[in-house]
């Protein structure tokens, strides 16, 4: 039976509230955006977007106050270990803010064009971002699960945002059903983790599991077997979320059916949130299960999934003609590359994961922004043929698109190459022969990927404009979008040639993963 709590720990102080200041501000702005939507007349609804962007700017400023805390590299625990702030959480919250801001910026004209300009769209993006930010700061299974669901639920609604569009409905339904199914798998796995360890705090779980793995307590059978079941369930739930093979089937449908701006958002924001959750679970709570005696650890499991994911993703992308489906498969392949960094378990691998996610955010939103611009022009822009002759119609957009596509392909002198170099290099650096073979498969995969990325370049630069293009006028890119795209393209090239500044940022993430693992008990319940 439950023991009575004899001594209550002291209440969270104002200090702890200061740690979630960015999230508090974001909650206020998201709620205010909903109210603003009701208050504004129909013709002024787009002001909610600018309001949301201002909100994100305030959140970024509040978050900047926490940058100094990561200098010590020691995680800071708040609210009795329910939340903790480390380098990883600070860096990734900036990534989420950038992803949300870009998505909002690229959405304004698109929603106007579709006559679906409503404030709730922006509020939902902000709520989803809020969920992601709490995922990055959670130090407890309860907080992780609830914040992750906040992130996912907002995106389910966004995917089905075009209520009258059958494809949007269908994509929302498929995404929703697979999403909840994976959440249920993960939740059941978490219940087993809780049952075996008796804790929901990530640090305490890690400590307890480390004891079991070393064979500490075995009076009632081997707890590792139940932990293996829990691990498989949790990993399956997480792999669903990042659309890793064999749990990827929802991704192409959801990406194709969703409004293009939402596709852009969900391919970077919630995806990055899922990677953070994966890192927290596998590299922290279940870290002692990486490799175990007599039992396969998660490193082997994840290695198989990573190889399958990149191979299936790349091969399936080759035959696609729909740009959104193609990019969905390309994002599946990129999920495979990112898993490699986690499998390698070296500092270089973690740096690669962080670096690749950061640059992928820039490149993928950039590609989608151009596709969105095509849509506005009256061409749907979802078929690869719609890009035909883009260079002669809109040279600057074609060049920007080319830079982002080359970045995604990982051509040297773009940031995509540096990310891939770190991820693949970490496998070889780890010194294990089986990881070297995986690195060879990964490089072969990157070669396959060149083919379908080159199709973009051929369509834009070599093919003549299609006959069926109704409107040959230049693309309608708002000045703000054009400036943002140019800056992202410059960033992609700059970090491709001189990656050191971004590597330093990625190193903060890598260091915080290794320190947190090294002193897992340090952030336990105070």
């Amino acid at each position: 039976m439950l023991p009575l709590l004899v001594e209550l720990p002291p209440l969270p102080t104002l200090r702890d509230t200061a740690f979630i200041m960015p999230e508090i501000i974001l909650t206020l702005f998201a709620g205010a955006a909903l109210v603003l939507d009701v208050a504004l007349p129909r013709s002024k609804k787009h002001l909610t977007a600018y309001f949301s962007l201002i909100g994100l700017a305030f959140v970024a400023i509040a978050l900047a106050q926490q940058v100094a805390m990561t200098a010590s590299l020691l995680p800071i625990s708040a609210f009795y270990g329910m939340l903790f702030i480390d380098g990883l959480s600070v860096v990734f919250r900036f990534v989420f803010i950038v992803a949300a801001a870009f998505s909002i910026l690229y959405s304004i004209k698109y929603l106007e064009f579709e006559r679906e300009q409503r404030g709730e769209y922006y509020a939902l993006i902000l709520f989803s971002t809020l969920g992601m930010m709490f995922v990055a700061t959670s130090g407890d299974l309860i907080a992780l699960f609830v914040s992750f669901e906040l992130m996912s639920l907002s995106v389910y609604v966004l995917v089905g945002y075009f209520k009258r569009d059958k494809r949007s409905n269908e994509a929302a339904m498929k995404y929703f059903l697979t999403g909840i199914f994976s959440s249920a798998l993960m939740l059941y796995g978490l219940s087993l983790v809780y049952g075996v360890t008796g804790h929901t705090n990530l640090g305490l779980i890690s400590e307890t599991i480390a004891g079991y793995v070393q064979g500490g307590t075995a009076e009632s059978g081997d707890p590792r077997l139940l932990l293996m079941v829990a691990l498989v369930l949790v990993a399956a739930g997480l792999l669903f979320k990042i659309a890793a093979v064999p749990f990827h089937m929802w991704a192409p449908d959801a990406y194709e059916g969703a409004p293009t701006t939402v596709t852009a958002f969900m391919s970077v924001g919630p995806k990055a949130g899922a990677y953070v959750l994966l890192a927290r679970m596998l590299l922290f709570a279940l870290a002692p299960m990486r490799e175990m005696e007599n039992l396969p650890g998660w490193a082997a499991l994840l290695a198989v999934v990573a190889v399958l994911t990149m191979t299936v993703g790349n091969l399936a992308a080759v035959t696609q003609d729909n740009v959104k489906r193609l990019l969905a498969y390309s994002s599946i392949a990129h999920a495979g590359y990112i898993l490699l960094g986690i499998v390698s378990g070296t500092d270089m691998g973690y740096q690669g994961v962080a670096f690749h996610i950061m640059t992928y955010t820039l490149m993928n939103t950039g590609v989608f922004a151009i596709i969105i611009a095509l849509h506005r022009q009256g061409v749907i822009g979802e078929n690869l043929n719609d890009l035909n002759g883009l260079f002669s119609r809109a040279p600057s957009a074609a060049v920007l698109m080319l830079i982002f596509i080359l970045g995604l392909a990982g051509i040297p002198s773009t940031a995509g190459f540096v990310g891939k170099f770190f991820l693949f290099g970490s496998l070889i650096q780890s010194g294990k022969p089986w990881l070297t073979y995986i690195a060879i498969i990964a490089v072969l995969n990157a070669v396959v990927a060149f083919y379908y990325y080159a199709r973009f370049a051929r369509a834009m630069f070599l093919n003549a404009p299609s006959e069926n293009i109704a409107d040959a006028s230049p693309l309608l890119l708002a000045p703000s979008v054009r400036i943002t795209l140019t800056l992202s393209a410059i960033a992609v090239l700059f970090f491709g040639i001189y990656p050191q500044p971004l590597i330093n940022v990625a190193d903060i993430v890598a260091q915080s993963i290794t320190t947190v693992y090294a002193q897992s008990s340090g952030i336990a319940l105070r």
């Binding site: 609830v146 059903l177 959440s183 939740l187 809780y194 049952g195």
Partner: protein, 100 residues
Amino acid sequence: MVPLSWYLILSAALFAIGAVGVFVKNNIISTLLCLELMLNAANLAFVAFSIFQGTIEGQLFVILVMAVAAAEAGVGLAIVIALFRNRETLDVDESSLLKL
């Protein structure tokens, strides 16, 4: 007192029924019910572990999961209504505009 293993067997059985139901059922409402069953199977496991270990976190978790499940049901039914308005069927197999 009922031993822990009984609770866990019941919870595993409920979870399996729900998981199988998701794949077998064609009606979206039935699928949603099966998903709720899976979530509640996990809840049962949490409560059982919580009581037998004498820790309170499991019960806290369950209350929050119930709130999340309610929100999920809200979003899910909203999607179902939007889908039904556009195509007048709730059969999952007939939703096939998006194909490989």
